[in-house]
Symmetry: C2
Subunit: 107 residues, 2 copies
Amino acid sequence: MPIAKTRATPYYAVIFTSIRTPGDNGYEHMADAMVEAAAKQPGFLGVESAREEIGITVSYWDSLESIAAWKNDAMHQVAQQAGRETWYASYKTRICLVERDYEFSRI
Amino acid sequence: MPIAKTRATPYYAVIFTSIRTPGDNGYEHMADAMVEAAAKQPGFLGVESAREEIGITVSYWDSLESIAAWKNDAMHQVAQQAGRETWYASYKTRICLVERDYEFSRI
């Protein structure tokens, strides 16, 4: 997974920070499917994800409307419910306006 | 590292996404020192971090002024330069206004 090549600011970010319950219980499969499905949504700009003690997934979007549409997507709703029932001990979701960005690369 | 207990919205987030160069080269020591130093800065609200293929560190702040002050901190400037010269192949920094948040916990 590379650093997301998002467009010029402003755009939106959803920071999803989570702590998992023990065991996989189908999580990895669903997480991969959710990233794949999110990438097909209108207004999707990119995603970045890493997990150690906590997991952080940041998805980038063109508007609050696109974020709301993805939150309400039928398959995503099923995954969200399974997240609360099975996969996550706790999580926090933050909806953010990306006002400014800058980058560095050796290449 | 728990999920950051940030205050009520609005507040700011700095999403720092990076790809490391091979080898430690003093990185872990400096990274720990930077988190410790950031936590002592005025306006610091919390930090979350995880690394797999990419590293994601999100720090939370009360204002753009606090973010600018930390960026310009003398020790942090030294670390930023070493980051560009040694530790990072590439990185992207995004300055964000957190407009809304919500959370879930089993406990």
